[in-house]
């Protein structure tokens, strides 16, 4: 997404230091690193482990458990499409199949030009106004292909 910077170990260390004294600091640190760099690269794992007095395996285990955390960079825009039942009831499956075909990617894939990553998500709480999506973190309801294209063009 726009606003992310390249990996910078000194900056990462500063981010970790800012959160390390919080109770249960692992998730806040992983979120803060992903906010800064767009993903959590492997280099971050030993830094977090050392700061929190955890093993690398524990940090890796946490990082790999949660769907949100990305270990590779995403495309310029991240589109999270809701696959849950309320959106299914208003045609989400067919819409998603069409979008994946149109963008030429499967779930978690990034378009060849690096512009768009499509990710599945299970429920955005927009269940009365589906199909729903988060486009670069902002909610979009009553989604169709044209609406998504317009949002991406405006972003």
């Amino acid at each position: 997404m726009p606003g992310h910077t390249d990996w910078d170990a000194a900056r990462a260390a500063a981010i970790i230091a800012a959160h390390r004294h919080r109770e249960g600091a692992t998730l806040p640190i992983l979120h803060a690193l992903q906010d800064a760099f767009g993903h959590v690269p492997q280099e971050a794992v030993p830094l977090i482990a050392e700061a929190l007095n955890l093993s690398r395996a524990e940090v890796h285990g946490c990082l790999s458990f949660y769907h949100d955390f990305r270990r590779e960079p995403a495309g310029r825009h991240v589109v999270k499409l809701c696959r849950a039942e309320a959106c299914q009831a208003v045609g989400a499956d067919a819409l998603h199949a069409a979008l994946r075909a149109a963008y030429g990617v499967d779930w978690h894939g990034t378009t060849a030009d690096g512009q768009v990553t499509l990710e599945p998500v299970f429920c955005l709480g927009l269940c009365a106004n589906g199909p729903a999506a988060l486009v670069d973190g902002e909610p979009v309801a009553r989604l169709d292909a044209a609406r998504l294209a317009a949002r991406l063009a405006a972003a």
């Binding site: 979120h31 709480g125 309801a141």
Partner: protein, 517 residues
């Protein structure tokens, strides 16, 4: 100066409310008309979002759904005087969808600026907390017990008993944790409240802290709710600055601090012990119970963990009395439940009522049937682990026991409507697929059962030995139900078996060529 009100709720924003707001301010400025625009929460009439309201001598007049391109025409027609227009809806509180509700928890959602503590106080806010401070902890716990409040997250456990256990537990540090990991499809009441009236949640948690002796609270909120996350954090900051949270709650000398924590996309973290693991900074792996969290919860300390709606019901109970709350409802389900109408529904949104309305009343009278206009075929009640019911069972009353008696569960009160294009074998397959994707992996029935379930249903859909494979599905469901550690594996059989029981024809479609098996 004319006052305008427009929600900043996720649904409104997702349908262009930001652009509507800009167009309104710009249009009024060009016309030389002074206006103030208050960004509220949503009233819960979600099919009408963005729902714009203007204050007039006759009360607030609503217009909706308003698209950015409607704004110029509205202003020309006399929006600021509440004049007629095709989008004019009249006074919201007179609209049947709202007029027929019993709004206790959601009384001020959509009315006020969610971050204005003055407006919160002016509409009855903080009266519960003040009453709690006057009563003392033991009396507060007994009031919560007497109200009959049960866990609104889905399990329906008596809230007062939990509060008593944590209050009685001896420890130097106790915690209050709010489960705001509202992951069930078809539910959005927690989100509406955190975006539209976050002080009610904060007040409820502060009351819980005072009553149980906990000085630190956490709200674990899912990352799929970015606007609720922002709104709640902003409200916590306002509450701290005003002395509602901190070293001396409302000057009482009693400490209660609150922090919001962001989840990371794991459905299982809505399970309370998995949520606690996640808060501690680990993988969201379910813990075996006992010990119960009330005795050994967050960081091994006594922890009161409740859903957003459970905490949010408490200020009303303390302000108006337990008996008044317990008067609503039916049977052993007391008080009101914020039901949520979702999926293929014409008028989707939030309906807060005393327990006991029928599914039909909600889906037909409030919801107006399907959005597509096609016949309704199924409703799923209680999220992805809830049962599918056919049209002929819509006269079921919605309370905890009645739903359980019909092979389902009320859960968090979400109702997802499907029309006659739904393929129930695909829905059963999805239930297993979802469980496979979201299982924490700790127990075998859930971790392996969900994967095998997808495979077996796929064989049924393909028409390969359907009778034999359906028997296998039933057997698998029994193992998962009886052998899983938590509700994830334990309740996945509900959508699967209800689909099989009520819609057997959908599992025979592939069977025709192999009928002679």
């Amino acid at each position: 100066m004319t006052r305008l009100f427009l929600p900043r709720d996720s649904v409104a924003e997702a349908l262009g409310a930001g652009a509507v707001a800009r167009a309104l301010l710009e249009g009024a400025r060009r016309r030389g008309r002074p206006v103030t625009l208050t960004r509220t929460g949503s009233r819960g009439l979600l099919w009408l979002e963005p729902l714009l309201e203007v204050e007039t001598p006759a009360g607030r007049i609503a217009y909706g759904p308003v698209a950015p391109e409607d704004v110029e025409g509205l202003l020309d027609a006399g929006l600021l005087q509440g004049a007629p227009h095709p989008l004019r809806l009249g006074r919201p509180e007179e609209m049947p969808f709202l007029a027929r509700q019993q709004r206790l928890t959601f009384a001020r959602c959509g009315l006020i600026d969610p971050l204005s503590l003055d407006e919160y106080r002016a509409t009855g806010g903080l009266r519960g907390l003040e009453a709690a401070l006057a009563l003392g902890g033991a009396a507060v716990v007994e009031a919560v017990a007497a109200s009959g409040l049960r866990g609104r997250g889905g399990a329906g456990f008596p809230t007062g008993i939990k509060w008593r256990s944590v209050r009685a537990a001896e420890a130097a540090q106790k915690y209050v944790v709010c489960n705001a990991d509202e992951g069930d499809s078809g539910t959005f009441a927690d989100r509406l409240l955190m975006e539209g009236d976050p002080f009610t949640l904060i007040e409820g948690m502060a009351i819980a802290g005072l009553a149980t002796g906990a000085t630190q609270g956490y709200v674990y909120i899912r990352s799929e709710y970015p606007l609720a996350w922002r709104s709640l954090n902003a409200a916590i900051a306002v509450a701290e600055a005003a002395g509602l949270l901190g070293a001396s709650v409302l000057g009482s000398g009693r400490e209660f601090r609150l922090e919001a924590r962001l989840g990371a996309g794991a459905y299982i973290c809505g399970e309370e012990t998995s949520l606690l693991e996640s808060l501690e900074g680990r993988r969201g792996i379910v813990r075996a119970k006992p010990p119960i969290p009330a005795l050994r919860g967050l960081f091994g300390q006594p922890t009161l963990i409740n859903n957003v709606l459970s905490f949010a019901a408490v200020p009303w109970i303390l302000a108006h009395g337990a008996a008044a709350y317990a008067e609503c409802g039916m049977g052993r389900s007391r008080g009101t439940m914020p039901f949520q109408l979702a999926g293929n529904i014409r008028r989707g949104g939030l309906v807060e009522l005393g327990f006991g309305p029928t599914l039909r009343a909600l889906v037909e009278e409030f919801g107006g049937g399907t959005r597509s206009g096609r016949p309704l075929r199924a409703v799923q009640v209680g999220g992805p682990l809830g049962a599918y019911f056919p049209e002929r069972l819509l006269d079921l009353p919605l309370d905890y026991e009645a739903l359980a008696g019909a092979g389902g569960m009320l859960g968090h009160g979400g109702i997802v409507v499907f029309d006659d294009t739904v393929d129930m074998a695909r829905q059963a397959r999805f239930a297993f697929e979802f469980c496979a994707a979201e299982s924490c992996g700790k127990c075998t029935p859930c971790r392996i059962g969900a994967v095998r379930g997808v495979e077996v249903i796929d064989r049924v859909i393909a028409g390969r030995q359907p009778a034999r494979n359906l028997a296998l599905v039933e057997d698998l469901c029994e193992v998962m139900r009886d052998g899983s550690l938590c509700a994830m594996g334990g309740l996945t059989p509900l959508p699967v078996m209800s689909a099989l029981t009520h819609f057997p024809e959908d599992f025979r479609r592939g069977a025709a060529p192999l009928a002679a098996e």
